[in-house]
């Protein structure tokens, strides 16, 4: 099984769609409890990589090793509209124990008062917090975040950043965050990868301490470096 020093091991992974190799000879290892952000323009293989890690898609070749317990927070909340919020959090499970677990997870994301609500009555930020609670109750060793903040307003996004940071500190899963937002990547991650044409073109550790502030010198230097790697010139 998995060696103790890796939460994710990918070697020589390829994935081909309609004759086009989206990933080719792709390699990546992630340590337990490491927070990795993946940046890249559209069509560079971010989503493909995340689908391989989640198990929703299989590679055409190579080795893909991931923990058994994985969770995903998608860009959309993907809640079942006909189930109450707590039932969505422990989807497929019933009874008092399941409900207690759901309530605990919802309390952690600040939604203790919405346990019995229907998903369609929630705001976008609330629905996404329910999705986060649903991912947490799985006690994942690997948490996959697929642009989970992209559809939220700026203020809600800031709160979600804080929440995800806190929850990661408390539970220490390995996290893979796919995002378009360079600031978000630097704020949250230990390590930032830039993907281009199915390869890792840049792999940087972010070693300045938390909490990070956007106005810091380290922050802006790293930001400029990442943006230029993504093809955006900043002066």
């Amino acid at each position: 099984m998995l060696s103790h020093d890796h939460a994710v091991e990918l070697h020589g992974v390829s994935r081909v769609f309609a004759g086009r190799a989206v990933l080719d000879g792709f390699a990546l290892t992630i340590r337990p409890a490491e927070f990795v952000a993946i940046l890249g323009a559209s069509g560079t293989g971010k989503t493909t990589l995340l689908r391989l890690l989640s198990g929703l898609d299989r590679a055409d070749g190579g080795t893909v090793r991931v923990p058994r317990r994985r969770s995903v927070v998608f860009q959309e909340p993907r809640l079942v509209p006909a189930k109450r919020v707590w039932q969505n959090v422990v989807l497929g499970r019933r009874g008092a124990a399941a409900r207690a677990r759901a309530e605990a997870a919802l309390t952690e994301v600040g939604l203790a008062d919405q346990v019995n609500a229907w998903p369609k009555t929630l705001s976008g930020g609330e629905a996404q917090r329910v999705a986060l609670a649903r991912a947490l109750v799985q006690q994942p060793d690997l948490l996959l975040l697929d642009e989970p903040f992209a559809a939220l307003d700026a203020l809600t996004r800031i709160r979600m950043h804080e929440l995800v940071g806190q929850l990661w500190q408390r539970y220490r899963p390995a996290v893979v965050l796919v995002t378009h937002d360079v600031d978000e990547a630097i704020l949250l991650a230990d390590r930032v990868l830039v993907l281009s044409s199915g390869r890792i073109s840049l792999d940087l550790s972010v070693d300045f301490p938390q909490p990070r502030i956007r106005s810091g010198r380290d922050f802006s230097d790293l930001r400029i470096r990442l943006l230029s790697e993504l093809g955006v010139a900043v002066h």
Binding site: V72, R78, G92
Partner: protein
């Protein structure tokens, strides 16, 4: 006008053409402040009165036309005659005997046809093999108007209860099948993907994700099927009716009693309304999660 000009407008050198529509809303503000509405109880009463007005006028005109002899009562009996016909039917116990028989036929046909349609729809929606087996044949069969099957069913099943039941079954299978199948297939694949991520088996996904999400569509199917059951009941009861509302109509037809015929038709209409109310209540109870949208 002169007053307006003195209130500083002239300082900004607005050309005279722009000043013209001073009275209207064009280019200005429109009023969207809350209206002063009458008390809700009273406005609801007014609404009822408004809706009752046209039927009341028609009824009155109908009664007067009969009373003054403008129409022959054998052709179109007056509303009072029809009320009297109802009283007669109830006094003789005909209506009390007929209603349970007719309702029983409709409910039995709907139960069998609806359950069959539901089962086929779920099978075709959830399993590829079910879709392959059933969808194409059912899509072909559904294009046949069920009324066209009546002569065939009489040849096959005789002129007794079985033929009547089969007509109602044939009428209810398809609306139920189509809506169930569409509902199951219409569930967002992203939800199913999420369920698989969170470790739900196929069976759990069907039970906890697909069925609850498809339920609104299934209930629409049930509502259509109920309407179809009533329609099929009317047709089926034309076949050698010896009991039920169809029997009352048939008898009245032979005795030239148009008042009783109209009373029988009104019973069918009342059944239709009752079924619709029942279905709405069912939807209300079964789908508490749907936001209530009411367009006034």
């Amino acid at each position: 006008m002169a007053d307006d000009l003195n209130h500083g407008i002239i300082k900004f050198n607005i050309p005279p053409a722009r000043q013209a529509p001073a009275r209207g809303s064009e280019g200005g503000l429109i009023d969207l402040s809350p209206h002063l509405v009458p008390a809700p109880g009273r406005s609801r009463l007014n609404g009822w009165l408004l809706r009752a007005a046209a039927p009341a006028v028609i009824l009155l005109a109908w009664q007067l036309a009969s009373s003054f002899g403008f129409v022959a009562t054998e052709v179109l009996p007056s509303p009072a005659d029809i009320v009297a016909a109802f009283a007669e039917l109830i006094r003789l116990g005909d209506l009390q005997a007929a209603l349970p028989v007719s309702l029983g036929r409709a409910v039995a046909g709907l139960a069998i046809g609806g359950t069959t349609g539901l089962a086929l729809g779920l099978f075709a929606g959830l399993w590829r093999i079910g879709e392959g087996l059933f969808d194409a044949p059912l899509q072909m069969l559904r294009t046949i108007p069920f009324i066209a099957l009546v002569p065939l069913f009489i040849t096959w099943f005789g002129i007794d209860e079985l033929a009547k039941l089969m007509v109602i079954i044939a009428a209810t299978i398809f609306p139920m099948y189509l809506n169930t199948y569409a509902g199951v297939r219409g569930v967002d694949p992203k939800l199913i993907e999420a369920a698989s991520i969170f470790g739900l088996s196929h069976r759990q996904t069907a039970w906890h994700v697909i069925l609850p999400t498809a339920l609104p569509s299934i209930l629409v199917g049930l509502r259509y099927a109920s309407g179809a059951a009533l329609l099929a009941l009317v047709v089926a009861e034309q076949i050698n009716a010896r009991s039920g509302i169809g029997y009352i109509l048939n008898n009245a037809n032979m005795n030239q009693r148009s008042d009783i015929i109209i009373a029988g038709i009104l019973v069918y209409a009342a059944l239709g309304i009752a079924i619709d109310l029942l279905m709405r209540l069912l939807e209300h109870l079964a789908l508490p999660w749907r936001p209530k949208l009411a367009l006034a």
